[in-house]
Amino acid sequence: MSRQVVALASEVAPGSCKIVSARGREIGLFKIAGEYFGLSNRCPHKGAELCRGMIVGLAQSSTPGEYRLWRPGEFIRCPWHGWEFDIRTGQSWCDPNSVRVRQFHVAVEPGAQLLKGPYVAETFQVRVEENYLVIDL
């Protein structure tokens, strides 16, 4: 593993993504609530450039006609098929494979009412060293 300096911290603003290249990998950098996150720019569904999608909050509802926005700015929608991924964890939020499960387990998190999917976008730990963002690859 080697330490890669990928960007200036100031280049990554909340609500936007900076895509950088490091050791042949494309990684999207995000800033949420003062912390930095790195996500592979490759959607695990069909290979789209995930990090060029829209940064959104997750739409939630407990009954038809009611709408809530959960964790605005913390999810990214793939630009192709619109799948939603948690920027912090890379976790996808729609499970296409749950149909095999009769009794399904809902991961209980505050406000979360969707089944977590098995698709996870690859994440990278981003460290801040002085003014720089650093990833170990």
């Binding site: 450039e49 060029r52 630009p79 192709w80 619109g82 296409p96 494979n97």
Partner: protein, 366 residues
């Protein structure tokens, strides 16, 4: 896969024929060189006139970017699909596209209620496809856009373009004012057969004005999107039962962007109920499924994704490995990448057919 990596491997491995690419004009002014002053003025003053309640937008808003891939916006500010260079870089080169079939969903012949304007728009869009796309990019081919609700004008436009091999098919929206099997459309099919061009059926907006389901207007985009497949099924049944495929034995039809996995169940249903009701349609000399087998092809996008990918193999086997033609629907949101599209195991021969050979045979390409 990122674009750079895609480009490096494209020429080595992948060669596809993409049967559904959507070119878009940056602004309507791009059509001006191809329209008379009378129609330029009409367009500027009265604009397009469709069968729904909003102007310049759809009553079922899309989930992103007017239904486009968010990563397909050209840097110069035009809409996705308007920039040939970006299309080349992002798609034609990157994905090994040997031939791309243009499907110009311009607000032209398919939807316009003013039939004379529709005829003018159709002609303009056909000129635009030639001048702005096909002449500049040898991999692309055009489809003849026609004012389909006015069969006589549609035939005129077809005959005008028939001599130009840049136009490989005739585009019709299955969301018509009457089901496409109705006799008032038959002059179009006669013209298609005469000039040896297949029909390309591709959904366009709100052409016909009927609710998108047989039981009223849906509420949400998920339903409106689904209706593209049920609508295509209805259209296929109409073409069969009205006897279009009996009357025009040389006609070939490709159904674009309507899905395909529904086909076996529909042909089984048509065959079964036609058996008892045959006396109603004595003009049919063969079973519905036989007509379908001979005349109808399908593009792959949006490909259905079963939980068990091998189930899709059953479906394709039942439809026939020679009946599917790969498409991406670039630059729409539910794009299928040729490298990723099939989770079902395919033999090399099956891949060659679906990605290339079936389309080359269908369109007479080398």
């Amino acid at each position: 896969m990122n674009v750079a990596v895609r480009q490096a491997t494209a020429t080595q491995r992948l060669k596809v024929v993409d049967c559904d690419i959507h070119p878009v004009y940056r602004t309507a002014a791009e059509l001006h060189p191809f329209m008379s002053a009378r129609w330029r003025d009409h367009m500027a003053t009265f604009g397009t006139h469709f069968r729904h309640g909003l102007t310049g937008q759809l009553p079922y808003p899309r989930m992103m970017a007017a239904g486009m891939r968010v990563d397909a916006f050209p840097e110069d500010g035009g809409p996705p699909g308007s920039d040939l260079d970006l299309m080349r870089k992002q798609h034609l080169d990157a994905n090994g596209v040997e031939y791309g079939m243009l499907i110009a969903l311009s607000r032209g012949g398919m939807e316009e209620r003013n039939l004379d304007f529709g005829a003018a728009l159709s002609s303009a869009i056909n000129d635009w496809q030639l001048e702005c796309w096909v002449k500049k990019e040898p991999r692309l081919r055009a489809a003849i856009v026609v004012p389909q609700e006015n069969a006589a004008c549609a035939v005129t436009e077809i005959e005008k373009r028939a001599g130009d091999p840049a136009f490989v098919q005739i585009m019709i929206s299955p969301r018509s004012s009457d089901p496409l099997g109705h006799r008032r459309y038959w002059p179009i099919y006669a013209a298609a057969e005469r000039c040896g061009r297949p029909l390309a059926l591709h959904v366009a907006g709100y052409s016909g004005g009927h609710p998108s389901t047989g039981s009223g207007w849906p509420t949400y985009y998920i339903q409106e999107h689904y209706a593209m497949s049920t609508g295509m099924q209805n259209t296929l049944a109409s073409l069969v039962f009205e006897g279009v495929l009996e009357r025009y034995p040389k006609l070939k039809i490709v159904m674009i962007e309507g899905g395909f996995a529904w086909l076996p169940a529909l042909t089984w249903r048509m065959d079964k109920h036609w058996e008892h009701m045959r006396a109603e349609t004595p003009h049919l000399k063969r079973r519905p499924s036989e007509y379908v087998r001979e005349h109808i092809w399908f593009t792959t996008q949006p490909i259905e994704e079963p939980e068990n990918p091998e189930h899709l193999g059953d479906i394709i086997k039942w439809i026939g490995w020679d009946r599917l033609m790969f498409s991406t629907d670039y630059p729409h949101w539910d794009f299928d990448d040729p490298r990723q599209v099939f989770k079902t195991r395919l033999t090399e021969e099956q891949k060659a057919k679906i990605f290339r050979d079936n389309a080359k045979a269908f369109y007479g390409l080398k």
